[in-house]
Subunit: 251 residues, 4 copies
């Protein structure tokens, strides 16, 4: 069995850094690279693109709202036309930076508030994905299974990669259990790996009660914004190997 | 005889507009479209890209410094690496927006202070053009003939388009006569057209004393940031026709 | 009888202008000056501050969301702490620019989406106004009467100026009738002046059915973002004079 | 004998932090707080202002160029009018944030490229300081002694605080020895403290050859952008105490 590991990267900006991209690139198989709207800038993008190419990690564009101060985590009301242009612009910038680094953008994952809104509202997801596919019809769109985002991508005939979280519990409808809830966060890498293995074997998201919600699972999101997170990702990878699950890029 | 007419476009931003892009697209054959760093935003870019495709005008990326308030006209000190990333990023964004509009970016022209600095310093020009060509080796680079920018483009083996100004006098070394100088600005469209015709026939820039400085002349820059300017561009086109000079895209 | 006329100003940015501030300063008594987050920049602020001082017009800070491209018209989700800092920062910047121009900031009016959200949600209004009053307890807060914004300002013990629109119809609960609705927009200056006179005489907002909703009315909002708008404002001022209503700053 | 210790602070932005402001506030007597143009944002400013007030550290505005990505370290060409507005705006914003935190802005120190340019060119320094003094005539301006910046502040009759660097060698003309030069950087806190003590006793900057260049010395710049730097600052303070030099705010 094989699974992809993805993480957000290139989230420094100007003099500021975030996370240890180099360390994380050793662990993951797909990098979601910030496109200078909510984080990143052309210089940070260039550096992480080069590193991803060198380390053979799949390159993804990770567009977000134009809100650097809020790190793209604050909801903004944009029209469908604005959403499409926002995504197409960032995707194009990422493509050029990837090309210059000798690579290419293979996937797209929405960031922060934009992702949350697209998971809830298929028209938002559609506006984003349609624009991205107009730029590159072969793009693989990373989606949260069982959400409006997933439906929208499917309706557009997009290549999709279903994403699960190793360190989060799921509700009975397949959404992430809110962070406050008891048991919502899984802090043990071994337990996280077991959950991923269980979901892969079941072919769907396993909810709190143990119910299986069938869906495609292609990639596991790991976090990289702390030294701790890198250790967790590395441990997860080790435990997955112990479960007989190899790491390989989706697509 | 044929010549290209180019103009800067898409220089609105958010609620603000600049110039009459629609009117100007009827007159010119190449549009230099701002890439949201010194002017423009993804929505303005999308609109002008669509219009350029509809009207059959060649699309160019027009990157500048990240200085919206200063409209890219204030010099900034950037390293070669920063310059390259600045240009590659903007070019990629423009490519995606063009693709989505059903067109493609065919040329690149540097904007404002970035252009002035590249005309003076070949290492700056080289940093910009090398990055752009890494993104698209077929790109046509618009250059001011007889400047460091022209040398740099030639040294890189880039496809070039030499640009002259119809409404400006030239010094004996082929630079634009400073705006203050008597006779530096040509306000009459007929006279401007005659000058362009003379330069095309001579195969080079004609200086104040009548000396010919041989160089490639592929495109004439017209301005579009006032209703007046559109009328001037239209009149120039008419007078060029009267001189037997047709308008056609370079390249 | 006397009333204040207020208008948004200083809404240019960098090379872009908006409206004819100079012409409008002849008509109005209070200027709401953009603070470089949704429009304006330090240079535009300096120019309009100087003009307002010269023409004896009351100076107000007009803070908005940090969304230049969206002109502060797109809703953003901010915490109370963020809202307070957003407003305090912009107010302070305006105070310094006013002081340097020989004037002082006397009032504050929220802009665009921030204003709309504060009209609906007293906690948003409170976060904004509390921060502003911590910077200057004597500040006059411009409020839409009968809204959450008005309540919040009153609860904080702020000096208030109630604002009505001359060119908009009101619903039975005192809100602006949506722009689509028949009769929602008043295009005739004479009719607009009559409406203002009627509201002043009645001591409250007059709804579509003629009902009077008592509230404080201190200022009338006029628009300045088109040459047309300036003519409308001038005509309104003339018609108000004919109704025996003079123009004078509130406070 | 007494001296002030100053450090740059509030240099985080959005999700990014820089340095350990809390630790450093225990060591220094004056904080130069970034004003959201080259670093900082209203929320970071509010937090550091509150901490400075709590810890009794003097508050300064630390304006820089509007270049967040370049951290205000890239030179930009601005007119005198633009420079003045840039500084006045940021100073006003800092004043409001300080007032809201229960404090007040007492001094101003230019940042990065703006500071370097003002040290070389008195007209640039004058444009910045004149604007700041128009906002607050009592402001204390931190200057590099023996530079154009110092002259400009003196010519304006500004209250000044002369600043030296504990960890840098000086050339024979009183400028900082370039970082590459042997002996240019002092890494030992004890040696740095001895140098400060020597300069204070001599009443001027001590050059590489031991020559004394008389000037006012009111404050020593310490760095805070690394955990290391905080330790260095703390050690410097200890060694200064051992030399009989207490720490106290200037002014």
């Amino acid at each position: 069995m094989r699974i992809d590991l993805n993480a957000d990267m290139g989230e420094g900006f100007g003099p500021w850094s975030m996370g240890d991209d180099t360390a994380l690139l050793d662990v993951i198989s797909s990098a979601n690279i910030a496109c200078a709207f909510h984080a990143g800038d052309p210089d940070h993008m260039a550096a992480v693109m080069r590193a991803a190419v060198t380390q053979g990690v799949g390159i993804g564009a990770h567009p977000g709202f134009a809100d650097m101060q809020g790190f793209g985590r604050r909801r903004m009301s944009l029209s469908s036309e604005e959403l499409g242009n926002l995504v197409a612009y960032q995707l194009g910038a990422a493509q050029a930076m990837a090309r210059r680094a000798g690579g290419q953008v293979r996937h797209l994952k929405l960031h922060g508030a934009l992702s949350n809104m697209a998971a809830e509202d298929a028209s938002i997801a559609r506006a984003c994905f349609e624009a991205a596919l107009a730029v590159d019809p072969e793009l693989i769109v990373v989606v949260m299974p069982l959400t409006a985002m997933d439906e929208a991508a499917e309706a557009l005939g997009a290549k999709r990669a279903g994403e699960v979280f190793a360190d989060r519990a799921y509700t009975e409808t397949g959404l992430l259990a809110p962070r406050g809830t008891p048991g919502a966060m899984i802090h043990d890498a071994s337990e996280a790996a077991e959950r991923v293995a269980a979901m892969l074997r079941a072919g769907g998201i396993v909810t709190g009660s143990g119910k299986v919600l069938p869906c495609r699972i292609d990639t596991v999101c790991v976090h990289g914004d702390s030294p701790d997170a890198v250790a967790m990702a590395r441990a997860l990878r080790g435990h997955l190997a112990a479960e007989g699950i190899g790491i390989a890029r989706f697509g």
